[in-house]
Symmetry: C2
Subunit: 430 residues, 2 copies
């Protein structure tokens, strides 16, 4: 194959002189987009703890603690509750590539961008994917899912709980029941919801769930908590293969009957053998991110999972009330909103990107737009993790009022902050 230089425009914009680079010194930002939110400073500080070795008793102790903490966060008794070393998307891919054998049928109910992501990843795993779709801004009636399951007879149903692209939260309890009745594995992507919206892994019958730290858990992206039911562990373990160069350490392992998992890095059978009592070497655990994930979960449980979900609900409601009082139209089905992100339509005649740029440049506040059909049509304003706080809500509303007015939109002075305060007063009175 002849060599050809890459197009010079590819990365032409990123020329920097290494000698001029100082330590990272991020500007202060209040991250009120759909995530990542601003991380809890306690979580960030946890990462500066010194390293220990991969098989140090202290390290395996931290791993065991992390497993125990996330069992309570996922509301499960699943032994196989651990971390995948990567972003939330790594967790999704680890789940799907380990469960899906080429040719397996997978049903994905799609109600936003992240449903499409599940389709995309499942297809790359070799699945035969069936989808059902509903308008962005709505969720599925469980009977629609039931009919699709009956029609397509999948091995796996893969669904997002909260799709930040539309701000919708899909009820999962009935889907879990449907899957249990039919012996279908249920995978749920709870990245954007866990720790700020109710999620009952065992009670709802979810077989595999994956998350990330950067939404309601109040951490940075980079570690993906995952939990697998015994049924899912069995499905994954049927595909266990031990890599050459490690075989002597695993003589006792039975030969696997299932097809080999297409990824080594995301091979949950091997990752389970690393986190489990066999402690077979796989990747080198990302220790600092594990410290971080450990602290995220610890803080969730110290606050109380129920109290934390209520906190997200309260501040999300206050934000919604404030945005509505600023004259913005709330997007989507209000009955099925995620607690932690509010979508509002960008008013006609207002340049949505210019508003976002002004919020960032003048007030240091980040808000988001969305993807696909909603790109430039809605703003998404997050209230999650560390930033699910009264001051963060009020300052965002105050700044947005200024920016909206400067952009030519009408916004009654003080209306946003006033409406949010009203929500807080009612909550105190209740």
């Amino acid at each position: 194959m002849p060599r050809r230089a890459a197009a010079p425009e590819e990365f032409g914009a990123v020329r920097t002189d290494p000698a001029s680079v100082g330590p990272v010194d991020p500007p202060p930002r209040l991250l009120m987009g759909p995530g990542p939110g601003s991380a809890d400073p306690r979580v960030l500080r946890a990462m500066s703890a010194p390293l220990v070795g991969q098989f140090d008793p202290a390290m395996t102790g931290f791993m065991a603690e992390t497993m125990a903490l996330y069992r309570d966060v996922f509301r499960t008794r699943n032994e196989a509750t651990l971390l995948v070393d990567g972003t939330s998307r790594a967790g999704i891919e680890a789940a799907l590539v380990s469960l899906v054998e080429p040719g397996d049928r997978v049903l994905v109910p799609v109600f936003g961008r992240f449903g499409h992501l599940l389709v995309e990843i499942a297809r790359r795993c070799g699945a035969w994917v069936d989808t059902i779709e509903t308008a962005w801004g709505t969720v599925f009636d469980p009977r629609e899912v039931e009919r699709a399951v009956a029609r397509t007879d999948p091995k796996i149903v893969a669904v997002v709980q909260g799709d930040t692209s539309t701000t919708m939260c899909q009820p999962l309890a009935d889907i879990g029941r449907i899957c249990r009745e039919r012996g279908v594995l249920l995978y749920a992507d709870v990245t954007a919801t866990l720790g700020g919206n109710a999620f009952e892994m065992d009670a709802w019958g979810v077989d595999v769930a994956t998350a990330g730290l950067q939404k309601c858990l109040g951490g940075p992206s980079g570690s993906a908590p995952i939990s697998l039911s015994p049924h899912a562990v069995e499905a994954v373990t049927r595909r266990r293969h031990v890599e050459a160069g490690m075989r002597d350490a695993a003589d006792e392992l039975e030969a696997a009957a299932g097809g080999r998992i297409a990824s080594n890095y995301f091979d949950l059978a091997m990752i389970l053998d690393y986190w489990g009592p066999r402690r077979l070497n796989h990747h080198t655990e990302a220790t600092s991110m594990l410290y971080c994930a450990h602290e995220c979960a610890r803080l969730v449980l110290a606050e109380g999972l129920r109290a934390r979900i209520e906190r997200h609900r309260l501040h999300g409601c206050a934000m919604l009330a404030g945005l509505a009082a600023l004259g913005l139209q709330v997007f989507g089905d209000r009955e099925h909103r995620m607690t932690n992100v509010v979508g509002v339509e960008i008013p006609a005649g207002v340049d949505g990107d210019a508003v976002r740029a002004a919020m960032l440049a003048d007030f240091g506040i980040e808000i988001g737009t969305s993807f696909g059909p909603l790109r430039g049509r809605i703003w998404r304003i997050g209230v999650m993790g560390y930033n699910a706080r009264r001051d963060a809500v009020l300052i965002t509303l105050a700044a947005l009022e200024q920016v909206l007015r400067a952009s030519g939109a009408s916004a009654t002075s003080g209306a946003g902050v006033g409406a949010a305060k009203e929500v807080y007063q009612q909550a105190r009175a209740a």
Copy 2:
């Protein structure tokens, strides 16, 4: 499929009461194994910087700086120099799954465990893998590689530079020349060597190289620097597909001619579009790990890459001299040692694991054993990154003398520390 409970012993050992879990509080450890080494405290502190949004100009600025810094660390002008969000193994898999199309021939010269890992990953990518092997403790004569290339006509040669399992460092310049002459892509895993051993990506003609932070770069595991030559970028970009739900943002992209990459998370074509000027959303960048990787590279260049390699060489030599003076037999071909890890044979009659346990329990020092044929046969003692230091070398030798003597091995009092000091004195005199 009927449901069955997982074997209870699977994770039975890891029961912990979440309510009793405090913040991580690692014991002090001097990590002198084959890696991770102890991280530089400045690198750990960099991770506590606050987050900024994914497309914040500050963030894209940090990404551009990170690319520039790693270009100098890899000794390359490759624009496509960036991070994969995961451990060093994630970098390997991203490289191979993005380059290898099912049925492609890949040649892997195997001289230790991590060569086997390349075989394993390439096979999972659907490659037809040919291997050549050499005894653990030796490296390949380039002519052996040349003959194998001629015989097997591979699309890709994949090779480890430094295989910590054997402590050997494979010379790559001639292999690069051979691959260039024949139009073969050369992938090198430089996880264990980069920043502490010479590596000349462009001069040697390496097309793709991947690393990790946890060895000579002095950081924790969890981010994988990667660089791709224009030729490799072209090979990867031929396989570009944009995921559904994102297509509107990428209307200008040409349809890809190559087969779709089997992984979404490791799809370097998409990751390049995220790091490049198109800024197409892919994963949510692991911001704290990026800060960390940025600081690792910045400290390497502030020290000077050449000075840092010389530091590794010096302290590695001092460690080797000390270990030999303690009566330990150095493992493998001394001409082709990595600078940053020394293998020594465990003396007959000495329980290698008991020595490692005593080093950890009594002195807080971690040293390693190896894998496969060398498990329990050698210890591996690392001198890398932050721990490539005189005090770390001398304290390790002093402690090991104590433990060896208590284990029944003969070790002349003061011989290890004395021999290491001799190396330092000669270096000062030179």
